[in-house]
């Protein structure tokens, strides 16, 4: 029986294992050392690796991100902890103008082997400035890879792969999943980028979900199965690079698809995936590819409102039924 660990333990293990393997790796961010982050993810690391390699910073995101990018260019392999994904707006220049473009601008002479760990996800009652899922914003920038773990297994395997990548990688962990447990094998675990995971096989409709939306898709698939609708659930695991081979093969089999992601629906990841499916598998579609994202509103603090802002299994089920029935989605 494989052990089960929380997503937060999986991240801690990945960082510790990699830091033991490679002494050029260091961890930097607000409250990463003594406090172990507000989510208690990095607890214990400072005791093992010391304050030279687990570095608490002032509340100055642009500053420590800039330090990390410079360090990465000059031989270190920093792991940056950004306490909330919402703070990514503070480090856009360091991330998008510097880290993402340095390899290109230096003619390949410089690499930025940097991992930015941050989070996403609503329904934690954290209100509009601490609940956003902003991965689409950085996915738009060439030069960045974007991983979105959907369980403790992916959190560990993708993070270890990210740390060994010579390019900047941004990992978005769902802050509501930190205490979720999943089976994770002991020892070395690397999950390659650009390889989607077929979580559940099906023949009638493809449900593509990212991060916690994989669970939403799986719950929906279970209910749909009881109604005789066979749903295939796909977790892309990384949205840059995106495994279109697996997605296309699934959609060509089922002819129907719903893409579910917790970012705002407009101009988001769901739109990108749906558009690629439309371009590449158009003549295999028996209905429109449907996007389901967060509503285009600031995430409300009100629990009653917040819970309906993001996609739910019930919403996915209703949409799948409509798609299966061949109904129009014209309004």
């Amino acid at each position: 029986m494989m052990r089960e660990i929380t997503l937060s333990t999986a991240v801690n293990e990945a960082i510790a294992e990699e830091m033991r393997r490679d002494e050029t790796i260091f961890l930097i961010g607000e409250d990463v050392a003594e406090a172990g982050t507000p989510f208690k993810i990095t607890s214990g690391l400072v005791e093992e690796f010391g304050t030279d390699r687990v570095i608490d910073t002032p509340i100055a995101e642009p500053g420590f991100m800039g330090i990390a990018v410079g360090a990465a260019m000059t031989g270190s392999r920093p792991i940056v902890d950004l306490m909330f994904g919402d703070f990514i707006f503070l480090i856009m220049d360091q991330l998008c103008n510097q880290a993402a473009k340095t390899h290109y601008m230096s003619g390949g002479k410089l690499n930025v082997p940097l991992v930015l760990r941050t989070n996403m996800g609503a329904t934690r009652r954290s209100a509009a400035q601490h609940s956003q899922s902003l991965h689409a914003i950085v996915a738009h920038i060439p030069g960045l890879k974007i991983a979105m773990p959907s369980s403790a297994l992916e959190a560990k395997g993708l993070l270890k792969t990210a740390i060994r990548d010579d390019n900047p990688v941004v990992i978005f962990e769902d802050k509501l999943m930190y205490q979720d447990k999943a089976p994770v094998p002991e020892g070395e675990l690397l999950i390659p980028f650009g390889q989607a995971n077929i979580k559940r096989e099906g023949t009638d409709i493809t449900l593509i979900g990212t991060s916690s939306m994989v669970q939403v898709a799986e719950k929906a698939a279970e209910t749909l199965a009881a109604e005789g609708i066979s749903a295939e659930v796909i977790d892309p695991r990384t949205i840059v690079p995106l495994d279109m081979d697996t997605i296309n093969a699934s959609v060509r089999k089922t002819s129907r698809c719903i893409v579910i992601d917790e970012g705002h629906q407009s101009f988001g990841v769901t739109s990108e995936i749906a558009a690629r499916i439309m371009e590449q598998s158009f003549y295999h579609l028996d209905g429109p590819v449907i996007r389901m994202g967060a509503m285009d509103v600031p995430i409300p603090f009100s629990p009653a409102l917040e819970d309906i802002t993001v996609p739910t299994p019930e919403g996915v089920i209703a949409t799948a039924r409509k798609l299966m029935a061949g109904e129009m989605f014209d309004v």
Partner: protein, 335 residues
């Protein structure tokens, strides 16, 4: 110069009613412009121009019944002779011998890519566009099926891959006239509770074992008998594994006894879907009135497909109502 003819929009159609011209005599027209509207069995369709020029020699007016294949106007190079001379205008209503259909049919004026052996001219349904999924379009093209024909079968848009089955079946039975009367459908829902209670009651009170299948067959026969006042009712019972059984007057035998098998033509096909994953059948091209009984939670989902050759609408409604009422309260059947 390009003749405009009254297209054949259905296989069993002799004349077409010109609902109205969408262009006036002498108007310039461009390929693809809607020229006029034609009424068919079930809908009004637009016919488009297949050439550029001017609408001339118009010989039929709004409201005329015009024999299929007859030239009703010409797309000319100039706007001259916009209206055909009166003496050459055939009176479509009083003319006892309309011009014979040209053989072979002239190049249709409507846009169509008819498959060999299929109707020569097929127009898009009213509004012009056929709404179909990309996959349905691709498969239709690969198989030589004409999506526009689906409207004649009463299949509503948008069309999906599943709808192509209607066209495939029509294509594989060219000897039989396609049932032009659209397949109609009635759905109903009623609680399962009554049937379960009835089966339990028979078992405990009379030590009689009755199957739900026997109840469905018997109730369907009784409801059909009441709705149509027929003396003989034959129910074809499909079991989902491809086997079927024809039973004569199953409502006359006791529910616990086997009904009489027969080789006579069936009046109704019954699909008991309650044990499987299907909830309803909408095959759209039933040769027989088809009754599907599916389970959905605590309810039965009843789907009844028929066409005007089988039953009229009132009979069909009475049948489904009677059947659902019997399922809801089996005692209704006994009294």
């Amino acid at each position: 110069m390009s003749d405009i003819i009254m297209p054949a929009l259905g296989m069993a159609q002799d004349t077409g009613k010109l609902v109205k011209w969408l262009k006036a005599p002498g108007d310039p027209v461009t390929t693809g412009d809607p020229l006029f509207e034609v009424e068919t069995d079930k809908s009004v369709m637009e016919v488009e121009a297949q050439a550029d020029g001017f609408l001339t020699q118009v010989s039929a007016s709004d409201g005329d019944d015009v024999p299929v294949g007859q030239v009703i106007a010409v797309i000319g190079d100039t706007a001259d002779n916009a209206v055909a001379p009166a003496q050459t205008t055939p009176d479509p209503v009083s003319d006892p011998a309309p011009a014979p259909l040209p053989t072979p049919a002239p190049e249709p004026v409507v846009k169509a890519a008819p498959a060999p052996g299929r109707s020569a001219a097929v127009a898009a349904p009213a509004g012009g566009r056929i709404l179909a999924s990309p996959k349905a379009r691709r498969l239709a093209r690969e198989e030589g099926l004409v999506l526009a024909d689906l409207s004649a079968h009463g299949v509503p848009m948008p069309y999906h891959v599943g709808d192509l089955e209607v066209l495939r079946r029509a294509a594989t039975s060219p000897g039989q006239p396609v049932v032009m009367a659209a397949t109609r459908q009635i759905t109903a829902r009623c609680p399962q509770h009554g049937v379960h209670k009835f089966i339990d009651w028979m078992q405990t009170e009379g030590d009689i074992s009755v199957s739900a299948q026997a109840i469905f067959t018997s109730f369907a026969a009784a409801a059909l008998r009441a709705a149509t006042e027929r003396n003989e009712i034959v129910i074809q019972q499909a079991d989902g594994d491809g086997r079927s059984l024809r039973l004569r007057n199953p409502d006359f035998t006791r529910l616990s006894a086997p009904a009489h098998e027969t080789d006579d033509t069936a009046d109704l096909e019954l699909h008991d879907l309650t044990d499987g994953f299907l909830t309803s059948l909408r095959l759209g091209d039933a040769n027989l009135p088809t009754l599907g009984i599916g389970a959905d939670g605590d309810s039965y989902l009843i789907t009844f497909e028929f066409n005007g050759a089988h039953l009229d609408d009132d009979q069909a409604i009475a049948f489904v109502t009677g059947f659902a009422r019997r399922l809801a309260d089996p005692l209704y059947h006994l009294v």
